[in-house]
Amino acid sequence: MSAVPVTLRRVVELEIDGQTVRAMEGQTILQAVRALDVEIPTLCWGETLTPVNACRVCMVEVEGSRVLVPSCARKVEPGMVVRTNGDRVRHSRKMVLEFLASSVDLSTTPNAARWIEEYGAEPDRYGPAAPPAAAGERDRAHAGHHHPGDGQTAATVAQPVKIDNESYVRDYSKCILCYKCVEGCGEDWQNTFAIAVAGRGFDARIATEFDAPLPDSACVYCGNCIAVCPTGALMFKSEYDLRHAGQWDEERQTQTDTICPYCGVGCELTLHVQDNEIVKVTSPLDHSVTHGNLCVKGRFGFQFVQNREKR
């Protein structure tokens, strides 16, 4: 009666790229493949988030399936035959990366440049980028507002950066609509529901209610959206300012795990420090208390150790 319950899981045998593999029942193809040290690119997948199958970059071939399947969400099955790097898969990834890179700024997306090269994607072949939208233009778009381009330029989501508070900035020129911020803010973790996808088709964008500026919205500044953003669209203001000034230098940064000083929950913080200043705070995804999440205090409440002399 007084024991910690244990869940027993069966082992599933399947074939991946010609190799027989054993995985645990309930695991995804992605997990089984990564256990083999084979890389599958992912963007919208998050270790701590419910898969939403939005980005389509992790698609693999499963024998007997008419279409490619998202490896991040599809569970392993006994006898499954999976190909992670065949022609169909490579072609699909090339297209996905071209569409994304031609319309979105992937300059701060880890690995994007490498994948583009690896899959032979040519985002430039859609023509030069169309002029960026004016501030607020994309946020006002309604169904029917979007018109096909002239075929000479590549449509983009480029628009001015939104800076409306001192904690974090939103650069939606870098947003690939992966839904991770929506999930982190929503039922997966924070349950604040401050943001959602508004609009349809190419006009779809992440928005607060009625496009309110963050300080007037339901946002509680936990920053759990920043923690899961795969492209740097959501960024600490401190990181944004340093990058803007050309001073952001990860080579010079240290990462130290410690415990948040505020309440008694005991959240683990990873302090990113450059030149003896905390420039960013994250939390390990595998920590049993936080699962990578923090609140406004843990995420942004560190200035007090940095401005003691000024007070």
Binding site: M1, L214, C260, C263, G264, G266, I278, V289, F302, F304
Partner: protein
Amino acid sequence: MFGAGGGTSSYQEIEETDLIVLWGSNARETHPIFFHHVLKGVHAGARLVVVDPRRTSSAQWADNWLGIDVGTDVGLANTIAREIIHAGLHNREFIDRATTGFEEFAANVEQYTLEEGEKITGIPAEIIRDVAHAYARADRAQICWTLGITEHHNAVDNVLALINLALLCGHVGRWGSGLNPLRGQNNVQGGGDMGAIPNRLPGFQDLEKDHEARTKFERAWGVEIQPRYGWHLTQMFEAMERGDLTALYVIGENPAQSEADTTRAWELLEGLGHLVVQDIFLTATAELAHVVLPASASWCEAEGTVTNSERRVQRVRKALEPPGQAHDDIEIIAELGTRLGYPMGWSTSEDAWTELRSLSPMHAGMTYPRLEELGGIQWPCVDEQDPGSPFLHGRLWADPLEGPPAPFHAVDQAPPVDELTEDSRATATRRRCAGRRRSTSRRRTASASTSSRASGFRSPRAAGP
């Protein structure tokens, strides 16, 4: 509780329980990441009951909000208990085998009928009945609380009243069932663990009654330990008033602003013969001090450990160089010892921790490498093979019972010291914690304690209520 001062359960259990009671806690704002675990439970089907005079943001998530009149918590708990007993929903087998004092307790709650409970608490009888039945019938249930329970003149009775409910239904000592005080700061629990309370040595070993433990510490430290309890904070201020306490060494506390009666606290601190304050800021208390020892921030400019509300001991690490002449607390204390003629024999936090492990059995298995490797360890952890303890008091379910039975405590409703007025629901929660500036249950997410930390924090939400 039952001898060891700590919450009984793991956060994981909150996700896997059937009923969660947040009593005097607005965890949504005050313990947001704990509330993530509550929400996992809620989404998995757990029923959430929030007991609070205000309809807090936590209450907005609840199946039942019990808008209790301030200071009537014992009345509510006793009414729930009587209803459970009268409906025959108490766990007789558990009570007989693992507890004492049930008869006296049952007799004491007899006067707390549903009608009486409604009169005392302002909560409709039907709702009290419904919650009582749900708590008793749940396979697994958790009661969690914060300062809405503990920041009262009768706080001990409040806690005992909640413990009684758990004993009545066997909702303790099992995975998914327990009693959890949510701590207000990152090392409230650890301070108690380390003996920074006037009646315990490290590891909750009784200073007065446990002669064997005291002798063990005396041998290790080579000094005689006075076999009597010291003063807690309230008693210290009383002793200052009497003139029995004339010198005070304050570390990381700001009583000039955090005491309920700040005028009195200020006068007494000013009247001290010698006041030493060790802090990371020049606080209002430090401004009164004869000597100020600038300290480094323990969570990012020093090495050490803290303990959270699920008894998990975790490492804090140095990420920054402290400013100016600030030093690590442990260096200051060791140096002070040396200058007072008692070299501590250690100079690093790990040395001090190793000594602690040799003296506190519940920490014995927690080496620094293991704390690192396991992502923290929950006490008790008695040796280096022990993975730690996700929940406490499993012994109460052992057959035959291991160790002493858990006692019921007959406690009675005592009205708040301040007379309640018409708008007491709104004002008393404020008054109760006036000296704290913002109470824990009223604390906005972006502010904490005397705001010495949060006031330097550029949060867009920092503007107070």
